[in-house]
Amino acid sequence: MTNSIGEIRDADFLFVIGSNTSEAHPIIAMEMKRAVRDGATMVVADPRAIWMTTIADKHLQIAPGSDVWLLNAMAHVIIEEGLVDETFIAEQTENFDAVRESVAKYTPEEAEKITGVPADDIRWTARKYATTKKAGIYYTLGITEHSHGTDNVYALANLVLMTGHLGKPSAGMNPLRGQNNVQGANDAGASPIFYPGYQRVDDPAAQAKYEAAWGVELSPEPGMNLNEMMKVVGKQLFGLFVMGEDIVLSEPNCMELEKALNKNEFLVLQDAFLNETARFANVVFPAGVFAEKEGVFTNSERRVQRVRKAVEPPGLARADWEILVDLANACGADWTYASAAEVYDELARHAPNFVGISHERIDTQVVDGPTGLQWPCPTPDHPGTKFLHEAGVLRGKGLFQPVEYRPSMELPDEDYGLLLSTGRTLYHYNCATQTRREPGLATKQPEAFVEIHPRDAKKRGVRDGDLVELSTRRGSVHARAIVSRQVRPGCIWTPLHFAEARANVLTNDAGDPVTGTAEYKVCAAEVKVVEATTDGATRFPGSYYGVGGPGPDGAQPVDAGARAE
């Protein structure tokens, strides 16, 4: 995020796109509600009538995958009506002309045809955004989980740059991160191209620095990103180490991955629970959960905050960092960290943005008052950085990147007539290995469901509550139909969380060419009613029941027959 969460409440205009904020980030949503209550204008662009639209001034119910059209059309309006910030563009950016040219053909009227958003609404939003000083953009996976996710982000950045809504309180561009420490994991170098602190592995200076620090020769070849890795398991990859993740459940097109994993030679899994991936593991290490270890998480506003040990892990389980030290040493290394704080210190020593932060400083200096410190924080007396880009755009000038609309990789056709998107709900968390174990949360949303528009439901003879088979070119799952106007006609939506009906059996693993992020948001699908059986919504074709029996995930098969009564 370029801004802090605390600044949201002071915003005067909020453009929320591709973010089901009240479900995925309830606390951010509270701040947004507060801004709206204090008179801010909010526009929500989302294919579904999500809760946030109930308090928004406008809901742009955009066709899934057409974000570039919407955003370029907004840029078109801002340029056409002379609402750009000329000074900011001249002093702080490059390449504006390219964008000016490229958006010329993206007229609101054309955009209406593709996005389904009325041209007047596009104009209104563009004007309002450009002319409000404290105007912030908020987005999440709805923007990035596309094969053109990077394009979407560039298109948003173009809007920010041409209006100069950057480096000011409550303005800027704010990706709301999904998981707790996505930011911190990136910062720490869990990336095929970056050492800690975004120092490139193919930069000889960075390589030399880490070779000196670690006392070994290092590879200058960038590695594979996750999406690439998962495609070559069993072909180029024959050994995997997986920490704290359920790749089988989280990966798009997981049926392919399961086949590939059978050709993999060795897999080490480190987790607190036996997850789906465990079926392919040779060794499993029992790991502690967050309440059982010391360390830091970095939130989406770059705030490094402490995780503190409150209880001991059960049995022989141990904190992940302790296991990693032992594993490295078993592989011939000589690591001697006595505490997580020591690990942090080593990380920070070679990554200038983090040098000023330490466990000790967080523990002693900021007890009350917003806790933690926001990087960049280059010295131990530096107060941390509230919003990025304050003193001019980071790393020189802001670069405009013209983007052209590319249709999603797979769109509805004769065989699969509906457009399927997947997402999160408030009550569950990603693979739900944690939240599905919570009896309360399971009560509120006990089984997999798919939302379908009344018109499409009628065409297919689907009634509310029917058990349906939801299929794509890659596989099919069973789920409960919810007939709802939350979704646009022609679109259906299903949550990711249910192990029994893994939405990822269905999704397309076509990745974004730059980031490798898979297209979870858009693929072609079809829905048909099936007879309710006792297997019901808990079954899906696949090896889940084939290998090792009804999975370890603790979910008791739901008696769908009983439920249908």
Partner: protein, 369 residues
């Protein structure tokens, strides 16, 4: 902002101290900012003032009646007393009235959260012999929601919970219902919370000053009350907001390993989340003590089954397995998937393991967005 407040230079006087205020500030806010103590129960900085509980009464020169500090805007030149005999007399009568239908022993009233009304009664030495009435407030005994318990006996109808639900969470699931001494906290048609717009944020529990809104599970399990638990400040492990929270630990639980009994939010105004949490951050912690937690390393044996193993053995087998792949296919045939659920330190170690020990850059976190 400061234009209306005469450039922020206006002042009021509290207990003889001259204090500057900004336009729009309440007497309570000015007092609190300057460390002057005024007791409150229904006040919450996140909410519009309600002036409901009357514990914050102050005396303002020239005003006939005592005024609630939380709901009175500071006005240039006001002279205010926050402690004197009149205020004390009023406050003690008020507290005594509250106590006529409020349990006075902590064991009954504090089964879950600390009861600030009892604290106040002690602090101001309020009489507690004004008689005893059975409360007329009704509860909703068949509310099957898993998390939130309402105890009408200790409710003082300050409406913090309903205002929070309305103003902060924005869903208005709970509401004041009934009149007079029967006023209670209820829902539309007395529905169970699961059937309302409630999002189970637990904010109503957090703001309740007496513990009338309480957390169900610890109550049903008969866990120790909050006062006897140790709070450990940590960061939520669910989403990227990074809410700060307090793990309330019973150190004797789980045979001395410690047990997280419940999670509470730090006071409003002190952290990014401003005292708020969502359903997951507040309630979804059964996984910590779940019976399916892995408690021992496992190795797959020749028959394809997992077998419990010692750490030494598991580490040795894992190391040999990974090194074997490297020796057969080269370092780039290995890949390390790390987790955005783990700490920064752990992610650092995974990439170092991959790069420095195995010499491959095939390392990435899952959920790389």
């Amino acid at each position: 902002m400061s234009e209306n407040g005469q450039n922020g230079t206006s002042t009021i006087e509290i207990e003889g101290r001259t204090l500057a205020f900004e336009a729009g500030e309440t007497v309570l806010e000015v007092a609190q900012r300057n460390g002057i103590e005024i007791p409150t129960l229904c006040h919450d900085p996140r909410l519009d003032p309600a002036g409901a509980c009357r514990t914050c009464l102050v005396e303002i020169d020239g005003w006939r009646r005592l005024a609630p500090a939380c709901a009175t805007k500071a006005n240039a030149g006001m002279k205010i007393a926050s402690e004197n005999a009149r205020i004390d007399r009023h406050r003690r009568s008020l507290l005594a009235l509250y106590m006529t239908d409020h349990p006075s022993d902590r064991e009954t009233s504090e089964r879950g959260a600390p009861d600030q009304l009892l604290d106040m009664v002690e602090q101001y030495d309020a009489p507690s012999d004004w008689g005893w009435l059975e409360t007329l407030r009704s509860d909703r005994p068949d509310d099957a929601n898993p998390y939130i318990h309402f105890n009408p006996d200790t409710c003082i109808v300050c409406a913090r919970c309903t205002r929070y639900c309305d103003e902060v969470e924005g869903v208005s699931a709970i509401t004041l219902a009934g009149r007079g001494s029967q006023t209670t906290i209820s829902t539309v048609d007395r529905l169970g919370l699961l059937d309302t717009t409630c999002e189970m944020c637990g904010g109503c529990i957090d703001v309740c000053p007496t513990g009338a809104m309480g957390e169900k599970t610890p109550l049903m399990r008969g866990d120790k009350p909050e006062r006897e638990l140790t709070k450990v400040r940590s960061t939520c492990n669910f989403c990227g907001v990074g809410c700060q929270l307090d793990l309330n630990v019973d150190p004797d639980g789980n045979d001395g390993k410690g047990r997280v009994v419940k999670v509470t939010s730090p006071p409003t105004g002190t952290t990014t989340n401003d005292g708020n949490l969502c359903v997951k951050g507040r309630f979804a912690y059964d996984f910590i003590n779940h019976e399916e937690r892995l408690t021992t390393p496992l190795i797959r044996n020749a028959a394809g089954e997992f077998e419990a193993a010692s750490w030494d053995e598991a580490l040795r087998v894992a190391a040999q397995g990974l090194m074997g792949v490297r020796d057969r296919h080269g370092a780039d045939a290995l890949a390390f998937v790390s987790s955005s659920r783990c700490t920064m330190e752990e992610n650092y170690l995974v990439q170092k393991l991959s790069r420095a020990v195995f010499r491959t850059n095939n390392v990435h976190q899952c959920a790389a967005t």
